[in-house]
């Protein structure tokens, strides 16, 4: 009762990274609260799920096996969560801020009358005082997220309703094995106790999924280009440098909107969040929404012809100059100095 729950997104028997990241976060919240971490797996091909999730510190894995539950559709997954939560009364429920999580989360929150905060960038435990009521709520979940186009950060709490629900984007939390030998309990549920046949009224007629070849999230070095790169042709300079360094190419939204780079490369609040060892920002001004997705890079290099570009204030190295000139020199001196 009153534990922390994470909904697992599963594709072809593999748990999504975002879910593992949430398990890591969920484990640390559960430790702070002195409660258990529980996970929900619904779909088919669930044989190896426990092997994948127990090392992240899952105490209880709820399994709902039914081939009709995969691919995901809204209503049956909603019924599973709503009915399970009525029994288990979680205090917290976390989901990925993915197409699935953002389809499922609001539906479940509406059915349970509980609050949901989308796209949190940080989750913490703390107390909350309602001054008007003279009441202190202990150990609430602070759901921290940018609001208003990223111009402010809001701290949201749900004092009176459970579960406290939040979605988080992929890459925002860190995924970390808790204990490779950790063993939890598996609870298999009869799907028909939770889901009605009428929940299957929406049918998937056709589906085309392409595995993305671009993997900026896990790249240790990112060469990222903004509107200042100027053209799709100039972006080639970034690819040349990236190839040499074994890096991936990222982009700002302005560069993506201008068609210089693919949407999957967008970094920031409405793109991917990255934490590379080295981030080279080329012709990026550094608006809040971009910085939100890369500020945790270990080392930031900014190349910009404007010495006062906002990104420079968070950069470790600032090169003032034109990218057309600077990048070829970086390529030249890298070739010269690396063996």
């Amino acid at each position: 009762m009153n534990n922390v729950f994470v909904y697992l997104e599963i594709d072809e028997g593999v748990v999504a990274d975002v879910s593992l990241e949430l398990l890591t976060k969920g484990r640390s919240l559960a430790n702070q609260l002195g409660c258990k971490l529980e996970a929900i797996a619904a779909g088919d091909k669930l044989d190896s799920i426990e092997k994948q999730v127990f090392p992240y510190g899952v105490d209880v894995l709820h399994v709902f096996y039914d081939s009709r539950l995969s691919p995901y559709t809204t209503l049956p997954h909603t019924s599973i969560l709503v009915n399970l939560f009525k029994q288990e009364k979680p205090q917290i429920c976390l989901m990925g801020a993915t197409i699935i999580g953002r389809d499922l989360g609001p539906r479940v929150s509406s059915a349970l009358g509980s609050g949901l905060t989308a796209d949190c960038t940080s989750l913490e435990i703390g107390n909350h005082e309602e001054k008007k009521l003279g009441k202190v709520y202990e150990n609430l979940l602070y759901q921290i997220r940018p609001a208003f186009g990223g111009n402010i950060v809001a701290w949201i709490v749900n004092p009176d309703h459970r579960p406290q629900m939040a979605t988080v984007r992929e890459g925002v939390m860190k995924k970390e094995i808790y204990d490779p030998n950790y063993k939890g309990e598996i609870v298999e549920h009869a799907v028909s106790d939770y889901v009605k046949d009428t929940d299957f009224v929406v049918s998937i007629i056709d589906r085309h999924i392409e595995k993305s070849k671009i993997n900026i999230k896990n790249s240790p070095i990112i060469v990222s280009g903004g509107y200042g790169v100027g053209s799709k042709e100039n972006f080639q300079l970034l690819y040349d440098l990236a190839d040499l360094l074994g890096a991936e190419v990222g982009a700002s939204r302005a560069a993506v909107d201008a068609g210089f780079a693919e949407h999957e490369r967008q970094i920031g609040q409405t793109g991917v969040t990255v934490h590379p060892k080295v981030y080279i920002a080329c012709g990026i001004s550094g608006q809040i929404q971009h910085i939100a997705g890369m500020q945790d890079s270990s080392l930031i290099i900014s190349i910009n012809n404007d010495p006062n570009a906002p990104i420079n204030s968070i950069a470790d190295y600032v090169i003032t100059g034109e990218i057309e000139k600077v990048i070829p020199k970086m390529i030249k001196y890298y070739k010269k100095n690396s063996k």
Partner: protein, 290 residues
């Protein structure tokens, strides 16, 4: 075949064009400094509705919005673009609503409208980027939802077929009607259907607007009923006040912070050869690259 379509549209501050004066000294947002616009993805939603009407003339589009009195602008814009009717849900008791209280209020208004085949909303509103209201309305009405829609491919025989845009692909789904469909920004942009509608509906007003502006051309408003924009309160839609506005909102804002980034001590370099070579050498030596 004709369809009754409800489009959910919200008036939002244009957060994409936030200037310096949009933030007050105390770190809060100065909403007054931001232009109020038709939420962009709600225009994509309206377009999908208009396309159904193009295909099935005689279908009726009602734009429903909840907001303060000035949100009547959204209804007029909807009419200019080809909608047939508009409803403004407005009441002090709705103020401070989070997504759950908003969806409750909207669902009560939809029940009052009553006769509908499909509800089309935007995927998300740019003031909160939550994407919750559509699915929450669907749940409150007990009907299916199709989110992230890019195109309504087909409607009829009590069913709707929709193309959805996923993270890395597309999916085509079929749902029974009535249903809620939420539309992505990648869907077709909204094209006004007839410039003459602008003239026709220019003076469409809610009763409150007529009172505030002292417009008393009673004859016009009685002889041209389409100029009367419907305005409903909590009582009009039989809503439970406890479930509306701030009191119906499980989420509370604990605090708001201005975004400040920790400025670093940065090393300044020029673009000359010496500076660049030294930097590269340093990075290689520290095993940052190479």
């Amino acid at each position: 075949m004709t369809f009754n379509i409800i489009v959910l549209a919200k008036q939002v501050p244009d957060t994409r064009n936030v200037g310096k004066d949009a933030m007050k000294a105390d770190g809060t947002v100065n909403r007054a400094a931001l232009p109020a616009i038709f939420n962009p993805e709600d225009l994509n939603a309206l377009e999908q509705a208009l396309e159904i009407k193009d295909q099935y003339p005689g279908s009726k589009i009602t734009v429903l919005t909840m907001g303060p009195g000035r949100a009547a602008d959204i209804l007029r814009e909807g009419l200019f673009r080809g909608a047939d009717d508009g409803v403004l849900l407005t009441d002090r008791a709705f103020a401070g609503a989070d997504t759950l209280a908003t969806s409750y209020a909207l669902s009560m208004a939809i029940r009052k409208i009553g006769n509908f085949d499909i509800i089309i909303s935007g995927r998300q509103a740019i003031d909160g980027d939550t994407a919750q209201v559509g699915p929450q309305v669907a749940e409150k009405l007990g009907i299916p939802q199709v989110t992230y829609a890019e195109e309504i491919l087909n409607i009829g025989d009590g069913k709707v077929r929709v193309k959805r845009r996923l993270e890395n692909g597309v999916e085509i789904v079929e749902s029974p009607l009535p249903a809620v469909v939420t539309v992505n920004g990648t869907a077709r942009p909204c094209r006004p259907r007839n410039a003459k509608l602008l003239q026709k509906y220019k003076h469409a007003k809610t009763i409150t607007e007529r009172q505030n502006e002292n417009i008393d051309y009673i004859d016009i408003y009685s002889s041209r009923p389409y100029l009367n924009l419907t305005e409903w309160s909590v009582v009009d839609v039989n809503a439970d006040v406890q479930q509306c506005g701030l009191s119906g909102s499980p989420t509370k804002v604990k605090k708001i912070e201005n975004v400040v980034f920790q400025a670093k001590e940065s090393k300044r370099l020029t673009d000359n050869d010496y500076d660049i070579e030294e930097l590269i050498k340093e990075l290689i030596e520290n095993h940052m690259i190479g």
